[in-house]
Amino acid sequence: MRKHTFWDLTTLFFRYTKLTLKTTLEYKFDRSLITVAIFFREMISVAVMFLILLRFLHIRGWEMQELMFLYSFLFLSYSLFVFLFAGVRDFDGMVHSGDFDRFLTRPLGLLYQIIAARVDYPATLGHGIVGLVLFFNTAFAVGIDWNWQNSLFYIMAILGGAVIQASIFMLSACFSFWSVRTENLRNLIFFNSRRVAGYPITFYPGIIQKVLIFVVPFGFVNYFPSQFFLHKADGEQFWSGFVYLTPAVGVVMFLLVSIFWKYGVKNYKSTGNAMY
């Protein structure tokens, strides 16, 4: 088998993107409406934060702009994650329907196919627009000098955050190889942690902070990278190195999960039913 060059993979990726775009645009009206709906659903918590801060101006020294900036990390990194890893998110279904078996017969990397073959545009846009609205309303008001180092740090933080979330989803996807369904449990853990992470983790008791740093590390998705920019006083109780760690946490988690994933693929026996 010929090794694929990076260039091959990139052109192929764009072909896949064209396909997924076409599938999405087949139902233009419906998909746009879903995007709008997701936007509104995600705006609920933003609106609540806005209304609270409108009345009380600040919470423990955090002002509205800063809290919203903190929140923007969650949405932008989730948007990027769902753009790239919708296939990992829906992996349970892929195995169940036999779609995954088709991937196995093709001369291409598995993860590559899973990433390229499925994109959830409504979720990407719905979350992404909320993230952008928050970002552009706050990023230039909280005293950040957007020089190239800071911009690079920001991009790395968003990328790292996306990979952290992808790793959590991939860990749960791994169980599908032994047809253990973890989708519900995963959603329960993931979305509740995300809910908690919407506000600074210092608002919560110590045990919850530990969970968000060491177990479901949402602290590295938004709290620590935003502390790099904001330097709020409540961050001093944590080790100062944490603010730089987001990309590293992402890479380490992803590598660990990849080992489990490879082991899973090796042990995978098809469910035997293909829908196509």
Binding site: A37, R41, I44, V48, I52, F56, I59, R60, R195, Y204
Partner: protein, 262 residues
């Protein structure tokens, strides 16, 4: 009547099967309560009361609201599923009132949530989140009545959205947008008294505050005795009004079915 009781029982039993959903419902509610209490605790910091409202009142408001949300969660895609699968035509041929059938199905689910989800969540809330007892026994009875009315307001509002599935193939978007409106305007997530005046004035013109805000305020004893009847009358008016709109839509939908040939 017996047949509708039977439907309610069926839907109750259906819920028992999905153990994970049941479990998730309780956990989600408790996490939401925990997050919101933590935020309000941070807002209050050392203060006993802000703008004349004590922390324990806000905490009770938040706990009650999320417990009520557990009970008020309905199966939003029941009618859509019937329409899409075509089962609706056979349902319409049966000698039953379809609207009553949908209602009894939802009541069955609600009773399931009351017994199986509310009870554990309530116990945890009393111990962990220090839920205050009702203002008085009398107010508690009014609260119960008002909650039922709030449920009916929400149910009839929901029905209007559900009935739209005769015109739209998928109702996910409409349901989600409706949910967002209910969550913000009904005071389910933040007490209305903390909202800006212009927003309160707007909400007073809508049915939303009848759903959560009115019953909770009665529980907290914030509505004087002589005003309770007018508050509940407002709820009744909204139930009737929304039911009427739902009925018109239902008639139009049934007509459309006939045109389609079912």
């Amino acid at each position: 009547m017996r047949v509708y009781l039977e439907f309610a029982k069926k839907s109750f039993q259906n819920n028992i099967v999905y153990r994970m959903d049941y479990f998730a419902g309780v956990i989600n509610a408790l996490v939401m309560i925990f997050v919101n209490i933590s935020i309000w605790k941070a807002i209050y910091e050392e203060e006993e009361s802000l703008e004349g409202v004590q922390f324990k009142i806000v905490a009770t408001y938040i706990v009650l609201s999320f417990l009520m949300q557990v009970v008020y969660t309905m199966d939003e895609y029941f009618i859509e599923g019937k329409v899409r699968s075509g089962l609706i035509s056979s349902d319409l041929m049966k000698p039953i009132n379809f609207r009553l059938y949908v209602f009894s199905y939802n009541v069955g689910t609600t009773i399931f949530r009351l017994l199986m989800q509310l009870m554990p969540a309530l116990l945890v809330s009393i111990f962990l989140f220090k839920l205050l007892p009702p203002f008085s026994t009398e107010m508690f009875i009014f609260f119960m009545v008002s909650s039922v009315l709030g449920y009916l307001v929400l149910y009839n509002l929901n029905f209007i959205v559900w009935a739209s599935s005769f015109w739209f193939y998928w109702t996910f978007s409409l349901v989600t947008i409706k949910d967002a409106a209910v969550m913000i305007f009904s005071g389910a997530l933040i007490p209305l008294w903390f909202m800006p005046q212009w927003l309160i004035d707007f909400i007073k013109l809508t049915p939303f505050d009848s759903i959560f805000y009115t019953p909770i305020r009665i529980y907290l004893g914030q509505i004087p005795q002589e005003e309770i009847w007018t508050s509940m009358l407002r709820q009744v008016v909204w139930v009737v009004l929304l039911f009427g709109i739902g009925q018109l839509m239902w008639k139009a939908a049934a007509k459309k079915m006939v045109v389609q040939g079912g």
